[in-house]
Structure formats: structure tokens, C-alpha cells
């Protein structure tokens, strides 16, 4: 008797639900200084009831994030939109865990996109993720540090001048650690700038260029950096040290302008292009592209949401407010951007000379190899490039560390 009453009540409750609910799309991104909840809310409003976007953050550390993303995707978690690190793009593309972008949308999403960002979101000619933001690194300095260090900021600054100049004025050259990517970005930029290529080939036996002349040149730069005593190398405390007493130079992505630690010294913040090794400009960059998991239920809605999230308005907002370099080339000529985002010109120049992250599904192994050999920075010597190349070959081939 009691059971049947309960059953009837439950059924009545079910039947009493009048309107169909707006589908909620779950959107996962790496942690961001930008207020992505607000961005999600705005795109939800613009959809006029078609969907609601629920934003969730992934772990901060890049290795943890990779493991978390792989586990979620393989475990069939209910994710609709995924913010994919550009470093992970090749791995996820090959894994079949991402839904292919429909040809029509791919054409829209790649139209007018900065070439470097497009390359970072593609594997070969195929667009794998929707380019969202792609931040190059800049050389930031405080007040008149560059003038005092006798640096010519009208042209790319050589590493040797930067290091000796910083030492002369008793300042530091901080390098942003970027939750575990700082060393790899630095080494990639140095090796590419010295004329080499870190890794070529997407299989198990790529050509590793770390051990050649370019690698030795890169090790020389790191050794002179350590010898001059101008900083601890890539570090998670780089921003704090830069903003504190005695901070002079910083190498960090464009989005640090929105960091609360940096906004405190915003008045005296200046910038110029990333330093060069011998003459060729090679700027490290990394970004996030948006993709839909292969087993997502509401693919069409998800791609609609991605069109909004990667749209001009959102990208302009992210660039002006948070310093995330937009991937739509047209925005760099936009009036509002030029007036409210003074770094636009330098960022555009930087994006034209990016030293891209090596495109390989085994990027995480490469990162392990570089981390095991080029860290700690003070232990880098002439044998480091060859050792890192050997270790990278072993790890990518599939050996135990």
C-alpha cells in the first residue's frame, strides 16, 4: 500500500515537469587567469536558450592535466567541449578521442587565423582543434631597466647582451615556469633560434636535433645565464620575483598582464620582443584549442558553442582584458584592440616568428627527457644536449625512464 503510494507520488512528480530543460554543455579548460565562467555565461546567453555552458577547470600542472584528460576521455566522461593544450594536440589527434571537425566548420574556424596558431591546432593539413588563443612569450622589463642595461629595444635583443646587461645593473632575468612547461619552452626557443630543430617526425623514431650544434649553442646560452647569476632559470615564482624589489627582466607569455602580482606594477611595465640567440628570431608560444570529444552526445550543439567561444567578440575580450593573444589575424588591426591593448604590435610580430612546440604524439616523453636533463638549470653543461637527445630517443621509442 505504502509502496504504491510512493510510486504514484514519484510518477506524478515526473509528469509535473512542464518545460524541456536547456541542455548543459560541460566545458573543460586548463586553469586560466581569465574569468571563463563569464565567457561561458555570455555565450550561453547568445545562444538564446539553445544551450548552457558549464565551465570546469582542469589541473594546473601540465603532466597532471594530460593524465586527467586522457583518463576522462578514455573513461567516457560526459564532456562536451575540451580546451586542448597545443602541446597535446598531436597526441589526442592520433588517439581518436576527439571528434573530427566537420569540413564546413573547419573552413570557418581556420579562416583568417594566424598561421602559427593554425599550425599549432593542426596535424599535417588537418585541423584538429579550433584555434582559440595562442600566447607568444615577450621580454618584459620594469621602468628603465632596458635603458640602464644598454639594450637596444628597437631590434631583437641578443641573449648575451641581455645577460650581461642584467648583471651590470644588478638585476635578474626571471623565466616563467608555466606550470611545468618553462624549461621545454626555453630549450625549444634556444635550439630553434640557433638554427636547429628539436624534433622532426611523428613516429616512434623521430630525428632529434637536440644533440647537434644548435643544442650546444643552446647549452652555451644556459651556461652563461647561470654563470652570470642573473636568475634561477624557469621557476614558478618568476612573476613574484619580477614584481618584487630588485626585479628587472622577465620572460613570460602575454597573458601575465592580468596576473594580480603583475598588475601591482602595471604602471612601470614595459615589453619588447623575445631575445635572440644568434640572429634568427624564435619565440616560444603555447596556447589552447577547443575540441569536441569523440563520444560527446551533443556534437552539433558543442560545435555551435565552439563557434561562439572562438568568435571575434570573445577573442577580442580575452585579448584586451587578459592579454591572451587572439588567433584571428584581423583583430590585430582592430581599432579597439590597438587603442586598449598596447602590446598588439609586438605580439603580432612575435606570432610571425614562433618556434613551435614539436608536433609529435610523444610530446610528453620529450618533455620528460628535457626535464630530466636540462633541469636543474645550474647543472647544465656541454654534455647536456647529447644526453637529452639520447634520453628523448629512448623514451619516445618506448623504454622505461
Amino acid at each position: 500500500m505504502l509502496a504504491s503510494v510512493a510510486l504514484v507520488a514519484a510518477l506524478a512528480g515526473c509528469g509535473a515537469d512542464p518545460e524541456p530543460k536547456t541542455p548543459t554543455l560541460t566545458w573543460l579548460t586548463p586553469p586560466d587567469r581569465a574569468n571563463l565562467d563569464r565567457v561561458a555565461a555570455e555565450c550561453s546567453e547568445d545562444s538564446e536558450g539553445a544551450f548552457t555552458i558549464d565551465h570546469v577547470e582542469l589541473p594546473d600542472d601540465v603532466d597532471e592535466r594530460r593524465t586527467e584528460v586522457l583518463r576522462l576521455l578514455r573513461g567516457g566522461a560526459d564532456i562536451d567541449i575540451l580546451g586542448v593544450d597545443t602541446a597535446l594536440t598531436a597526441e589526442l589527434a592520433g588517439s581518436g578521442l576527439l571528434a573530427p571537425i566537420p569540413a564546413a566548420r573547419a573552413a570557418d574556424l581556420s579562416e583568417g587565423v594566424v598561421p602559427a596558431a593554425l599550425a599549432a591546432s593542426s596535424v599535417g593539413d588537418r585541423l584538429v582543434t579550433a584555434p582559440w588563443w595562442y600566447d607568444p612569450q615577450l621580454l618584459w622589463y620594469r621602468g628603465s631597466s632596458a635603458e640602464r642595461a644598454a639594450l637596444d629595444t628597437s631590434a631583437p635583443v641578443p641573449w648575451s647582451s641581455l645577460i650581461s646587461g642584467a648583471r651590470q645593473i644588478g638585476g635578474t632575468v626571471q623565466i616563467d615556469g608555466g606550470s611545468g612547461t618553462g624549461t621545454v619552452a626555453w630549450v625549444t626557443a634556444l635550439v630553434t633560434g640557433a638554427g636547429g630543430e628539436v624534433l622532426e617526425g611523428r613516429g616512434r623514431t623521430p630525428e632529434i636535433g637536440l644533440g647537434g650544434d644548435a643544442g650546444s649553442r643552446a647549452a652555451d646560452v644556459v651556461e652563461s645565464y647561470v654563470a652570470a647569476g642573473v636568475g634561477p632559470g624557469p621557476s614558478p615564482d618568476a612573476l613574484r620575483s619580477f614584481a618584487a624589489q630588485g626585479g628587472t627582466f622577465l620572460l613570460a607569455p602575454t597573458s601575465i598582464v592580468s596576473d594580480p602580482v603583475v598588475t601591482a606594477i602595471a604602471a612601470e611595465l614595459r615589453w619588447t620582443g623575445y631575445p635572440v640567440v644568434d640572429g634568427d628570431v624564435a619565440v616560444p608560444a603555447s596556447g589552447v584549442g577547443l575540441a569536441v570529444p569523440a563520444d560527446a552526445d551533443r556534437r552539433t550543439l558543442a560545435f555551435e558553442a565552439i563557434s561562439c567561444l572562438t568568435g571575434t567578440d570573445v577573442q577580442k575580450d580575452l585579448m584586451i582584458r587578459y592579454g591572451h593573444a587572439a588567433t584571428r589575424a584581423a583583430l590585430y588591426q582592430d581599432e579597439d584592440v590597438l587603442s586598449e591593448y598596447p602590446m598588439a604590435e609586438d605580439v603580432e610580430a612575435a606570432l610571425a616568428a614562433v618556434a613551435p612546440e614539436p608536433v609529435t604524439p610523444f610530446y610528453a616523453r620529450l618533455r620528460d627527457a628535457i626535464g630530466a636533463t636540462w633541469e636543474p638549470t645550474r647543472d647544465v653543461d656541454a654534455g647536456t644536449p647529447a644526453a637529452s637527445a639520447r634520453l628523448a630517443e629512448d623514451l619516445i621509442r618506448g623504454e622505461l625512464p
Binding site: D63, R71, G96, A364, D368, L400
Partner: protein
Amino acid sequence: MTVGAPAPVAGPRRARRSDLLWIAPGLVVLALVVLVPLGRTLWLALHRTSAAGDTSFVGVDNLVEVLTEPSWWRAIGLTALVAVVVLVLQLGLGLAFAASLRHVARLWPVARVLAILPVALLAVVSAVAARSAVDGGFLATWFELADAGTLTQLAAVVTGELWRTTGIVVVVLYLALTRVSRSLLDAATADGASSWQRWRRVVLPAILPSLAAVAAWRLLEAWRLFDGPLVISETGAEADPVSGAVVVWHTAFGTYETGLAAAAATVLLVLTMVVAVAAWLLVRLGRRR
């Protein structure tokens, strides 16, 4: 046919066939639960896979790689070291505590509950507590452990396991001690044996079967430790893991080299069987004496 006297030849044969029928369902379940995963692991070990999904048949390459990799044998060596250290310390401390408790037998009802209590907790609890102890906790200050190197990891794993399961050893050995024949001890005292001689010649031989059984059990458990090494490996990213199982875990679910992890798991299984044989010999040794 005589009443009540079944044909001797037909009887045992029929019993054997029906025995098999009775245990057949159990065998089927055992096969499914053990043989199928084992088979799949061996199959995986013959391939090289990656998170990107490309799979290629590599035969015994993975196995050779595991068997010739120094870092793997370092991890196995550390696993063995942990097992031996934990075993020796647990037996020693357990015996000492049990012998002491015999002198305050009034405390036994309370003591036996308190001793078993830590085991009621999940192993991960003691693992996390031990990690805090070495990561700026009391162990770090007592032994001046600098950073998360191998020594720190070993200290954490051994401490966590000692705290958690020494209690059971105490309980088992206490009960074994209560069974030592009173009359034998009295006879030894009458013969003029000192307490150490009584201990060595009467008590130890009497509790040897229990001691051997506990030793075999704790050896296997200490060899199988996983929670402790896994939790502590998160702090010491540069140090070698102190457990082969953690290496398998990191390879399978960290770098997603599934084939290599399967090969490593197979090697670990074989090594575990060796340890199991050693434990069995230990028990037999105890019983024969």
C-alpha cells in the same frame, strides 16, 4: 548384488567425476577472473601502444626492454629491501611487544583491540600520514631527512606499514606465546636455565610454526605494498620509485605505454611467484622444526 556393499571399482571413479562436476563452476569463475586478464596482459605485452593509439606488434621487445632496464631492477631491489626491512622490524617489534604484554596480561583485552585498530583503516590513510611525517613532519626532523630522495621514500613506506600492521603480528605472536607449555617452562627453570636460555630453547622452538607462518604472510604483504609507495612517489618525482608496482602504474596510467606496462607487470608476477615459493618454504621450515 549384496545389499549395502557397492562395487569397489565403480565407487571411487564415480566419486571423482562428480567431484569435478561440483567444482566446475568454481573453476570456470577462477578461469574467467584469473586466466582472462592474464591472457590479455600477455597479449598487450607483445604490442607497443601509446596514448595516441597506434599499436604495433613487437613480440618480446617489451619484455627484453624491462629485463635489461637498470631502473626496473633498482625498483625491484628497493621493493625487496622494503619487504625484508618491514618483515624483520615487524617480527622483532611484534615479538618484543607480545612478550611484554605477557607480563601485563590484564591489559590484553584492551590491547588486542587497539593493536588491530590500525588495520581497520584503509592503507592509503597510513600512507598519507607517513608522507606528511617525512614531508616536514616528525620523521623529517628526527632523522634530518633533507628532500624527497630514496631514503625519505623508504622511511615513509616502512613507517606507514609498521604502524598499520605490526599490531596483527603482536596479536598472533601473543596467542602463540600463551600456548607455550607451562610444564616445559617450569621444567627448564628447575633445570637451572636462565631466562634467555628458556627463551631460546623452550619458547622460540614452541612458537616457531606460528612465527614462520606470520613471517611468510607479512613477507608477501610487504612485497605487495602499493598505497604507501604510490603516495610517497608523488613527492619525489626525481627519485626512483621504491616499488615495482608503482613503476607499472606510472607506465600504464602516467605515460600510457600500455604494452610496456603489461610486460613489466608480467615480470613482476613471476617475481611475486618466486617470493610466494620462498614464503611457502618458510612455513614448511617452521613446521618441520
